[in-house]
Amino acid sequence: MKPAAWILWAVWLSTAARPETTPAKNPLADQPAAINAGRKLFVAGCSACHGSNGEGGRGPDLVRAWFVRKASDGRVFDTIRNGVPGTEMPPSRMADQSIWQIVAFLRSVSAPAYDLPVTGDVEAGKQIFFGKGGCATCHSIGGKGGVIGPDLSDAGKSNPLMKLRESILDPNAFLVEGYRAVKVTTSDGREITGVAKDNTNYSIVVLDSAGELHSFMKRNLRAVVFRKSSLMPSDFKTRLTARELDDLLAFLSRQAGRPAKKDEQ
C-alpha cells in the first residue's frame, strides 16, 4: 500500500462516522475462544495484506499503528465491515460475530500479554522456564537466571502475547539491541566473548557470560566478530509441546515487574 493510502486508512479510522448500532466495546473482548477463532479468520482473510499476526505488509501494521490502538473496538469493527474507500481495503460481508472475533484477535496482538486471559498453566510454565526450557540459562526474572539474554521480569507488561510467542518460536524475529553475540580479540591476542552492550567505531562494551563488563577502545582491538543470528536456540517448536508452550507463555505473560500494590493484594 502506498503512503497516501496509509494516510487515508488512518484518517478513515479516526474520522469516519460510526453507525449508532455498532457498540463501542467488543462483546467478545478478551475471550480466548473468540481470539482463537479471530486468528483463523484473520489468517484466512486479512494476512495477505496485513501479515499473519497483523504486523503489516502491503497493508498497514495493525499491532503498533496508533490509529488502531487508539480506535474504539466499534471503530475497528466498522472499518472491517465497510473497508477504507480509496484503498485496497475492501468491505466485508462476514457475520458480525466473525468481525468481532477478528477485533478480539487484533486487540490480543497489540495489548500487553499481562492484560489478557491465558490458556496455559502459570506454575507449569515457571517449571519450564527454570527447567526443561532452559530459558533461565540466559534470561532472568526477579534476579533469578542468566545475564546474556534480556531480563524478562516485566515481559508480560511490556510485550503483546503474539510477540512473546514469536520470540520463542523464531528468536530472530525480534532481536533486542544490546544482546548481539560478539567475540573481540585484543591486540595482544586475548579473546572475550559475550554480548555487545554498545558498539561504535571507537569503542565497544561487552558483557561476558559471567556477567562481567569489558570496555574496549577499538584502537586496542585486533578483530570484532558479531554473530548474525540470535544466541537463542531455535528449536522450541520441537523442544516443547503445544501445551508446554502455552504454559510457558502463561508464565511469561504474568511477569509485570511490579508486584501488586499493598492495597490491591
Binding site: S140, G211, F226
Partner: protein
C-alpha cells in the same frame, strides 16, 4: 566460531561494593550522592589540580531523552556511571558516555525529579516518583525486586537518592508542601522488606506531639525527608534532615515548635530509634527546610577534638553541633542580610525579631523562600580546612492566609511574591567550619534560580555550577578562578569526579545532559579494526 558455546550459567564472582568501600573518601570511584558517608564531597584525586585545571576539555556529553531537569549526582564504580532521572536509570561507560543499559519503570504513577542511585554489593537502588524502592543488577540493569514504601494517596512521593548503610537502604519521602506525614525508613537491601520506620511527626501522645495543635497537624503536618542523609559508622547514627511544617506559610493553626520539622535527626541505623534531634527553625513559617547536607567533620573545636556535624541552613545560620549527642556548639549567620532573628540563645534556639511571620499584607524577610543555602551540596577540603557553601543573598516578600488547608490540593496557604522580592545573588563562600567565619567568596552573576552544589578535590580545586550554567573550577585556598565551561543549561545537580584507566574525569548533570571533562590529550589515530559478521 561457536559463540553459542559461551552461553553458560552466570557466576556470582563479581566485585562487590562493600560498606567499607562506602566509608572511604572517594578516589577512583564515587559511590554515594555525596561521595562517601561524611557528606564532605571531597575526592582524594590530584591529577586535575591548580596547574592542570586550565587544560580541562569536554570528553563526552550524554543526552537524557525526555529529561526536564537532571538533579542526580552520578555514582561511578569500576568505570561504569549510573545516572538517575525520573523513574529511570542509565548505566554509561564512564570513559565514553556510551549507554550500557537502561531501566525505566513505566508503571510509576508520578513523574518527579530524581536525585540519584545507591550502590551496594552487585546492586543499584533507586526510588520511583511514586515511592517504590527498586533494586537492579548493576551489570545488566535486570530487575531484582521492587517494593512500595510510600503511598501517593497520603501525599507521599519520592525524589531522594537512597543511602546504603550496612545491609539496608535508608529512604525518605517528599510531599511536605502539600500536606504529608514525613518519615525515614530502612529497607533490606536483600529483599526490600521494611526494617524500621521513624515518623518525623510523632503520633498522638508520643513525645513531641505536644508541639502541634491538632490531630490534623499530626497527620498532615509535613516534615518531609526529601534529601538523603549522612552516616557515622562508628556511632552507627544516620543524620537525616527534615523539611518544613505545613501549611508552609501559615502557622496560626499549628501553634508550637512543630517537631521534628526543619530539624536534623540522629537515628540509630539498626533500630531507627531517635538518639537526638536539633530543630534549626522552631515553628517555621518561611519554608526553611533543613535540607542542606549535614556534613560530618572530625576537627578540634575550641581546642578540643570533637565529632562535629555542620549545617549551612536555609534559615541563614551556619550551625555546628556535636554529632555524638546533638549538643549545640555554634550558630552564626553566613549571609550578610538576616533579619528574622537577632541571634540564637545558649541552646541554639533563634532569638526572634517580632512580626516577621508572613501576613496577608506580606513581610519582607531575609533570607528568602529559596533560603541562604538550599539542598545544593556543600563540600569540605581537609587540606584547606574550609567548607565551600553555595550561598544566596536574597530577601523575599512572604504572604500568608488562613485558608483552610486541604492535603494534596492546596499548597502552603500562599508564599513568596516574586514581584516584590529581591532578585538575589549567589556566592560560593569558603567558611571556616569551626568558627563560621568567611575566608573568601566568589560572587556570581545570574538570576538566583540555580541549584548546583560543589565538589572538593585533593588537587586543590573546587568545582561548582554557577548561576549562569557554567561549571567553574576555583583554587581551593584562594578562590581564584582556574577554569570554566558554559553548559548552556541551568544546573540543578552537583559535580563528581572519578578515575578510569589512570585518567581523572569531572562530571556534572546539567539540564538535560550529562557533561564529562578531562585533561586535554592529542587525538590518537584509530586503526581500522577488522569487524565481521558470521551466521
Amino acid at each position: 566460531m561457536k559463540l553459542l558455546a559461551f552461553a553458560v550459567a552466570a557466576s556470582a564472582l563479581w566485585a562487590q561494593v562493600t560498606v567499607e568501600d562506602l566509608r572511604r573518601a572517594p578516589a577512583r570511584d564515587w559511590l554515594t550522592y555525596a561521595g562517601d558517608y561524611t557528606g564532605q564531597r571531597h575526592s582524594t584525586l590530584t591529577q586535575i589540580n591548580g596547574r592542570t585545571a586550565a587544560s580541562l576539555v569536554p570528553k563526552w556529553i550524554y543526552h537524557v531523552d525526555g529529561a526536564k531537569r537532571l538533579e542526580a549526582s552520578p555514582v561511578i564504580y569500576q568505570g561504569v556511571m549510573y545516572v538517575a532521572n525520573t523513574n529511570e536509570v542509565h548505566a554509561l561507560d564512564a570513559r565514553t558516555g556510551r549507554r550500557i543499559w537502561y531501566y525505566a519503570d513505566n508503571s510509576a504513577t508520578r513523574k518527579d525529579a530524581n536525585r540519584g542511585v545507591a550502590i551496594l554489593g552487585d546492586r543499584i537502588f533507586f526510588v520511583t516518583s511514586d515511592a517504590w524502592l527498586v533494586a537492579l543488577n548493576r551489570k545488566t540493569g535486570a530487575l531484582l525486586w521492587q517494593t512500595q514504601y510510600g503511598d501517593t494517596k497520603k501525599g507521599q512521593f519520592a525524589t531522594m537518592a537512597p543511602l546504603a548503610v550496612k545491609d539496608r537502604l535508608i529512604v525518605g519521602i517528599s510531599g511536605g508542601d502539600g500536606g504529608v506525614r514525613g518519615f525515614v525508613a530502612a529497607l533490606s537491601a536483600a529483599t526490600g522488606k521494611e526494617l524500621w520506620r521513624f515518623w518525623t511527626i510523632p503520633a498522638k501522645g508520643e513525645p513531641g506531639s505536644e508541639t502541634w495543635s491538632t490531630d490534623f497537624d499530626l497527620q498532615w503536618g509535613g516534615a518531609a525527608t526529601w534529601m538523603s542523609g549522612t552516616y557515622d559508622p562508628e556511632l552507627n547514627l544516620v543524620y537525616w534532615p527534615t523539611g518544613n511544617p505545613w501549611p508552609t506559610f501559615y502557622g496560626g493553626d499549628r501553634k508550637g515548635d512543630n517537631l521534628y520539622a526543619s530539624s536534623v535527626l540522629a537515628l540509630d541505623a539498626d533500630s531507627g530509634r531517635l538518639k537526638w534531634h536539633f530543630q534549626f527553625t522552631p515553628h517555621d513559617t518561611h519554608d526553611w527546610d533543613a535540607q542542606s547536607w549535614p556534613v560530618l567533620l572530625d576537627l578540634p573545636f575550641q581546642g578540643r577534638p570533637r565529632k562535629l556535624l555542620v549545617h549551612p541552613n536555609r534559615n541563614g545560620f551556619f550551625y555546628v553541633l556535636d554529632r555524638t549527642n546533638g549538643e549545640f556548639l555554634l550558630a552564626i549567620p553566613f549571609i550578610d542580610r538576616l533579619n528574622w532573628a537577632t541571634g540564637v540563645d545558649a541552646k541554639g534556639r533563634p532569638i526572634l525579631v517580632p512580626d516577621m511571620d508572613p501576613t496577608p499584607d506580606g513581610r519582607k524577610v531575609c533570607p528568602s523562600l529559596r533560603g541562604a543555602s538550599n539542598w545544593m551540596s556543600p563540600s569540605f577540603n581537609p587540606q584547606t580546612g574550609l567548607l565551600y557553601v553555595p550561598t544566596l543573598e536574597q530577601c523575599g516578600f512572604f504572604a500568608s492566609s488562613a485558608q483552610r488547608p486541604v492535603p494534596m490540593l492546596n499548597l502552603g496557604a500562599t508564599g513568596e511574591d516574586p514581584t516584590k522580592s529581591d532578585r538575589g545573588r549567589f556566592y560560593l563562600r569558603a567558611i571556616d567550619p569551626t568558627t563560621g567565619k568567611r575566608r573568601w567568596q566568589y560572587p556570581m552573576t545570574g538570576n538566583g534560580l540555580s541549584r548546583p552544589g560543589t565538589l572538593s578535590t585533593a588537587g586543590g580545586v573546587i568545582f561548582f555550577g554557577d548561576d549562569t550554567g557554567q561549571l567553574v573550577a576555583l583554587d581551593a585556598r584562594s578562590g581564584e578562578h582556574l577554569w570554566h565551561f558554559g553548559t548552556g543549561q541551568m544546573m540543578t545537580a552537583s559535580p563528581v569526579t572519578y578515575l578510569v584507566n589512570g585518567k581523572q574525569y569531572v562530571t556534572v548533570a546539567a539540564g538535560m545532559d550529562v557533561f564529562t571533562f578531562g585533561l586535554f590529550e592529542a587525538a590518537l589515530p584509530v586503526p581500522k579494526v577488522k569487524q565481521t559478521e558470521e551466521p
